[in-house]
Every structure is written in structure tokens, then in C-alpha cells.
Subunit: 222 residues, 2 copies
């Protein structure tokens, strides 16, 4: 197996995309996928796909393509998705409630095991099957629970203090939904979810269609 220390970040960012199409292919009953099948399903070039996957071993067979089951299993193992991972959510508002009940997490073995808030009107209430706990008690509770993934679903103003509290309580990876850049020590991994990102791509596509739909047909510049 090749050394995985030098896998570039863009390759890592594409792994979830490969996982999704492999899972879809498995559901469709396909046994193999070629890199051109994968190109058609992802929009990523087959050259790039072969290069990305080569960081993790030799999966493809000339003429038949990649074994869906083998590649899916291997990627899930590489990504740590072959065992259940508990996560905590801070912020029991609308977004926190939506995330706590989000079926997509369970599909990938992420389990929301704790929900915290600082609002007295919420603490002690139930969110789905969980009691909302006081954020003040996080460090003590998490000494036993040992949750290392924290999801921030608070307003932007609260997010940095929540991140600091999480890190003190032992969280090592933070998924941040608040529209703010968090300051964290280098050993802590942070990913930001920006729900407007995909809207921008849609906006571009609309504009593009308007452009191409406009008569008269444009001529190429000389």
C-alpha cells in the first residue's frame, strides 16, 4: 500500500464524491465501474479519478474497471467510515434540530450522541431521542463520553466560544455551520459548511443559460 501521508487536499475532498457514486452503483447492482463510468457520474475527468485512486492502491483492472464492492470497502476504511462515530451538536435551534434528525448521518455511521445549548428554555427538553444538555457541563460529560466530533449549529456570534469549549472538552474535529472563520489550534481539524455555495453554482448556470439563449448568436472574437 502506498504511503498516504502526501495525499493532496483536493484529492481528499473528492473522496466523498467517489463514495457516493460507488454506493449508488452498489444499490443498482453493478459489480464494476470503469473510470469513464465514474467520469460520467461525477463530472471529474477519468484521468483525475485514476490518479486520485492510485494514492490508495491498485484497484482497477484493465478492461473491466474497478470492483465496486472492493473500492467502496477500501475507501470507507481509508476514511474511517467503517465504524460508528459519535458526534455532538451545539445549538438546539432549527438547524440543530434538523441536523439531529438528519437521516444522512446515520447512513454513514455518524451518530449524534449529545446535543448542547446555553438557553435555559431549551436545556432539559428533548430533541428527537436526546435530552438537550447545558453547555456548561460539556467538559465533565465528555470526559466519560469521549466524543471527538463537534458540530456547531449556533449563530455566528456564539461559534468561536463554542469551538473553544468543544476543544477543551476533547473535540478534535469541528464541522462548522456558522458563517464565521474559527480560530483553532493546528491539531484541530475544521470544515465549514456554507449553504450558499451550491446556490452560487446555480446562479452561474442560470446566467449562462440566459447568455446562450440570447439572439443574435454571438460570433467568436477575432
Amino acid at each position: 500500500m502506498p504511503d498516504q501521508g502526501d495525499v493532496p487536499q483536493p484529492t481528499i475532498n473528492r473522496l466523498p464524491v467517489y463514495l457516493r457514486i460507488l454506493k449508488a452503483a452498489a444499490r443498482e447492482g453493478l459489480e464494476t465501474l470503469s473510470s469513464s463510468d465514474m467520469e460520467r457520474r461525477t463530472g471529474i475527468s477519468s484521468d483525475q479519478i485514476r490518479k486520485d485512486l492510485s494514492y490508495f492502491g491498485e484497484f482497477g483492472k484493465p478492461g473491466t474497471g474497478y470492483s465496486v464492492a472492493t473500492l467502496l470497502g477500501r475507501l470507507m476504511n481509508i476514511m474511517g467510515l467503517d465504524r460508528e462515530q459519535p458526534a455532538m451538536i451545539v445549538g438546539a435551534g432549527n438547524l440543530g434540530a434538523a441536523l439531529t434528525g438528519y437521516p444522512g448521518f446515520a447512513e454513514w455511521k455518524f451518530r449524534v450522541a449529545a446535543v448542547y445549548d446555553n438557553n435555559w428554555s431549551k436545556i432539559g427538553r428533548r430533541l428527537w431521542d436526546l435530552e438537550i444538555w447545558d453547555i456548561q457541563g460539556m467538559a465533565q460529560r465528555n470526559r466519560k463520553m469521549g466524543i471527538e466530533i463537534g458540530i456547531i449549529a449556533t449563530p455566528a456570534e456564539a461559534a468561536q466560544a463554542v469551538a473553544d469549549t468543544m476543544i477543551k472538552a476533547g473535540v478534535r474535529s469541528i464541522l462548522n455551520f456558522a458563517p464565521i472563520r474559527l480560530e483553532v489550534p493546528a491539531r484541530i481539524a475544521v470544515r465549514n459548511v456554507d449553504m450558499t455555495l451550491e446556490l452560487h453554482v446555480l446562479s452561474y448556470r442560470r446566467k449562462e443559460k440566459d447568455r446562450t439563449a440570447q439572439p443574435p448568436k454571438r460570433t467568436k472574437p477575432q
Copy 2:
């Protein structure tokens, strides 16, 4: 200006990333950014950045880099983000409520102008400053409103029927939060938001740290 018809999808997908760092740079009071500054802020190689931006014109000046204000204005124009765009949300549950109140939309001139649901206990109630409307009336209402961006925040089972209803009502671009692949005519643009995607990247990073932290130090394969 070069013809924009052939801009590859991966380039389009990176435009929102460039927008974000340009906006941050503008907030910091920076007048110019070099492609290596942009590489440091995005993790995208400076070669790739220069190539991506060259599809839209000649922005960079040798030695000084890109003018932040010029490039930001140009990208916002290219992406259709320089004017307000109304959107409708279907699904007034936790996610729909979180999205309706999401401050990130307004920051980029997306305005949630209508919220629909099919649940009688929700129709007629208020969500933030909007009344929740009956999805049955969408086609008629939208004849006047002309909203072309639809956001699906329903459970997976309902999403396809909602998409069909939206398209009949004149929606041309769909942002889908339901974990299901929608079938739509080719003229309709769809982007799926998968809230577990970034969790996968975090999961990989954790696993990677565990690997590199483990003694004894691995040796390179022969």
C-alpha cells in the same frame, strides 16, 4: 472577453471559493491578491487559479496580482450575483425554518420570498416574516411572483413530487437538501447539498492523524 460557453464544471465549482476569499480580502482592506496569496487561502494551486480566472478575462497584472475590487465585481457579475434573486423554499420543518432565517443567503442577495408546505398544521402560520403557503397554490401564486430558484427542504420521500410541482410552476434551478437524486428535464439545473460531505473529509483527517501518530514509524514500502 473570451467565450464563456466552454468553462469546465470544476472551474465553475471553484468560483464560489474565489468569491469568498475575495470578499474576505476586501473586508481586510486589501487592494490586491496574488495567485499565490489565493493558493494559500484556498489550497487550490496558483496555476489552477490563473487558469480558472483566465476563462473570464485578463484580470491579473504581473508583479502586483489581481485587483480585489475588480475581480470581485467581475465574478459577481459573471455569476449573476450582482442583483437580488428571489427563491422559494418548500418544507417548513426544522431545515426549512433554518434556511429561511439563514443570514448567509441575504449576504449574497438571495431573498427567500415564499415558503410552501403541504401540512395543514403549518399552512397559514408564520415562519420568520413569511406566511407558510399551501403547495397546492404554488403554480398560481408563482405566475405572478416568477420565482425561478426553488429550495427543497422536505423528507426524501416527498422531494421528487416537490421538484415536479416546482418545475410546473416555473422554477428553473433547484437546490436540493433531500438525500435523493432528482429526475428533472435537461433544461433544469439541480445542485444537491449533502450535509455529510464535509464530515467525511473530517473523518479522513482524523484517521490520517491516528495513522501518523502511531508508533513505530512506518517505513516506505520497498
